[in-house]
């Protein structure tokens, strides 16, 4: 019986020891070796004092070692916490302190960066690189430790498995805690929804700090399928990504729409056959319907599914496109999948009628355990429904506005607050604007998403005395404060912003300057 995500790996290693589990660039690893290395790493972690519930950071680029790290940590009873290697130093330091991370697993190619990031922290254990100021163990030593059966940690479904940090409305990122149960529920639901088997080859584009990666890292391991981890170079050059799908005979592709749109701009894209591809799954932001139409007209045999779900729920709804979209209207987010219930509530907390827009609430087996270190925020994000006999149903308030049409299909209508989702990343508009406003000569700024051919993040800027200011300067200042993904692509200096009668910025009326 599988009681933890790590049990999935043991089962698949027993059933399919020689099957390739993961591939990345020129490297690959089968289930037997992956299982062995994960056990060895878990033994190393336990030897160095890791106890159940301890958080272990993973500071790695896209590589095979990420899988060993994830399963090694989980098998030791630890909780894996991915760290975005492109985040500014201050943000990484915050994450390490906030999450109480004492051990970091990294890769030798990240040595200089890790050393620089950790220079004001002490008493850490670093695995995978030599860091002068910290205690370090190299990768081969850590993953070749002889594993003894007696060390098996009894992991419960209810124990924490991983924490994903995402942008928070207070200006500091928040850690979303998931248990083995929520991870396993996700793996089992995706396997059943998309009929995934051990014959599938899953194309993984997402870095491990995105929950999109859990399809390749959890579901594939559960079904003993093969996951192709796209390398950073392949992600950078869409032509390589396109060729990867073709060459590896990928059967299920899951990424943000942007990656797919970038591939379509490759001149040879429409010479591809993608013979084995049977599912195109996307999430993270809307897919421009005209672009999707172009894709679907060419790859008629590939089923397409729009996946929706905040990181707090991983996935909760999906919409399989039975027809090629013809107009410009956005693709619906569909219906909830199994083991999931929803409510749409208006501002008076009353259930919305069909067609009425309200906030989407989700109750699901994939729901997070809460926000790390933020019990009040966790409570505020939940809606409790008292049932008979004292039973309480717990729903997560997504903050997303939706309506349900007459067929019972859900449609996304925007956010309750000023959060946006851009290329799969959550960005608090307020955080972004306040960062821009800290730059010299800038008086005020407004940011918004503009959709034409693709979705772009735009900043309108008002400077003191209409001073000219260079975009490069703004970008390099912002790089010190906020992650690259949240930096707008275009900046425009304007005299003023559209305002409402009361003088507030009219966010509904933002557009590109002439």
């Amino acid at each position: 019986m599988n009681c933890s995500l790590s049990d999935y790996l043991s089962s698949s290693a027993l059933a399919f020891p020689d099957k390739v589990a993961f591939k990345c660039g020129k490297g690959q690893i089968n289930y037997r070796s992956l299982n062995k290395k994960a056990s060895a790493l878990s033994a190393t972690l336990i030897d160095h004092g890791i106890k159940k519930g301890d958080r272990v950071g993973i500071y790695m680029h896209r590589c095979l070692e990420t899988v060993v790290a994830i399963y090694g940590i989980m098998r030791s009873g630890g909780v894996y916490v991915p760290i975005d290697i492109k985040h500014p130093k201050a943000r990484v330091e915050y994450l390490i302190r906030d999450c109480g991370i004492k051990t970091i697993i990294t890769h030798e190619t990240q040595e200089n960066k890790v050393a620089s990031i950790l220079d004001s922290l002490t008493g850490l254990l670093v695995i995978g690189a030599r860091i002068a100021k910290q205690k370090s163990i190299n990768w081969s030593q850590a993953t070749e430790n002889e594993y003894e059966k007696t060390r098996t940690i009894n992991i419960l479904e209810d124990d924490l498995a991983y924490i994903l940090y995402t942008s928070g409305s207070t200006g500091q990122p928040k850690g979303i805690m998931h248990t083995h149960r929520s991870g396993m529920a996700y793996a089992e639901l995706t396997a059943s929804t998309y009929e995934i088997t051990h014959l599938d080859i899953i194309g993984n584009h997402a870095p491990i700090f995105f929950d999109i990666s859990t399809l390749g890292y959890f579901t594939a391991v559960y079904m003993a399928a093969t996951t192709i981890i796209a390398t950073d170079a392949e992600v950078i050059f869409p032509q390589l990504l396109t060729e990867l799908i073709e060459k590896e005979a990928v059967t299920i592709w899951y990424s943000v729409p942007l990656a797919i749109i970038q591939m379509m701009s490759y001149e040879k894209f429409f010479e591809m056959k993608f013979k084995k591809l049977r599912w195109l799954l996307y999430a993270g932001e809307p897919f421009n319907p005209q672009k999707l139409r172009k894709w679907m007209l060419y790859f008629k045999n590939v089923k397409v599914s729009n996946i929706y779900g905040p990181t707090e729920t991983n996935q909760c709804t999906y919409y399989n496109l039975n027809e090629i979209p013809s107009g410009k209207s956005p693709i619906p987010i569909g219906m909830v999948w199994k083991n999931t219930e929803y409510k749409i509530l208006n501002e008076m907390d009353q259930v919305c009628e069909s067609g009425e827009v309200g906030e989407l609430l989700i109750r699901s087996s994939t729901l997070m355990a809460g926000y790390w270190n933020k019990p009040e925020l966790t409570n505020r994000s939940m809606y409790l429904e008292q049932m008979e006999g004292g039973y309480v149903k717990k729903y997560y308030k997504t903050g997303d506005l939706v309506f349900e049409d007459k067929k019972g299909i859900l449609h996304f209508k925007g956010r309750k607050d000023h959060q946006i989702k851009y290329r799969g990343y959550r960005i608090e508009i307020g955080d972004l604007e306040s960062a821009i406003n800290q730059i010299k000569d800038i008086e005020e700024s407004v940011c918004f998403l503009h959709e034409e051919d693709e979705i772009r993040l735009i900043a309108l800027i008002k400077t003191y005395q209409n001073k000219a200011i260079e975009t490069n300067m703004i970008v390099s200042e912002l790089r010190k404060m906020i992650p690259l993904y949240s930096i707008p692509q275009e900046f425009y200096i304007v005299k003023d912003f559209p305002r409402t009668a009361t003088g507030k910025i009219d966010r509904k009326d933002l557009k590109l300057p002439e």
Partner: protein, 78 residues
């Protein structure tokens, strides 16, 4: 030229991580130094600064893997 490219990468693309130095032979692509948005900025910089037209066919790992490769590419296409 190498120094200009290194400065651009360090200051504009890696501005948030202090103390990281890039050598001309460092692999920029495979280790997550730069991602697709950063690459767009780098290509814009190469085009504007050295008057080179980087065609989609030229956007390959070979041409952009290291600072030295970028310099070679610019010199070949100037």
């Amino acid at each position: 030229m190498k120094k200009e490219i290194i400065d651009f990468i360090q200051e504009t693309l890696l501005g948030g991580i202090q103390g990281v130095t890039i050598e001309e032979e460092d692999d920029l692509l495979s280790t997550g130094f730069i991602e697709s948005m950063g690459m767009m900025q780098l290509i814009n910089f190469v085009e504007e600064h050295y008057q080179v037209n980087v065609t989609p066919q030229d956007m390959t790992i070979e041409n952009f893997r290291t600072v030295r490769a970028i310099e070679d590419y610019i010199l070949r296409n100037k």
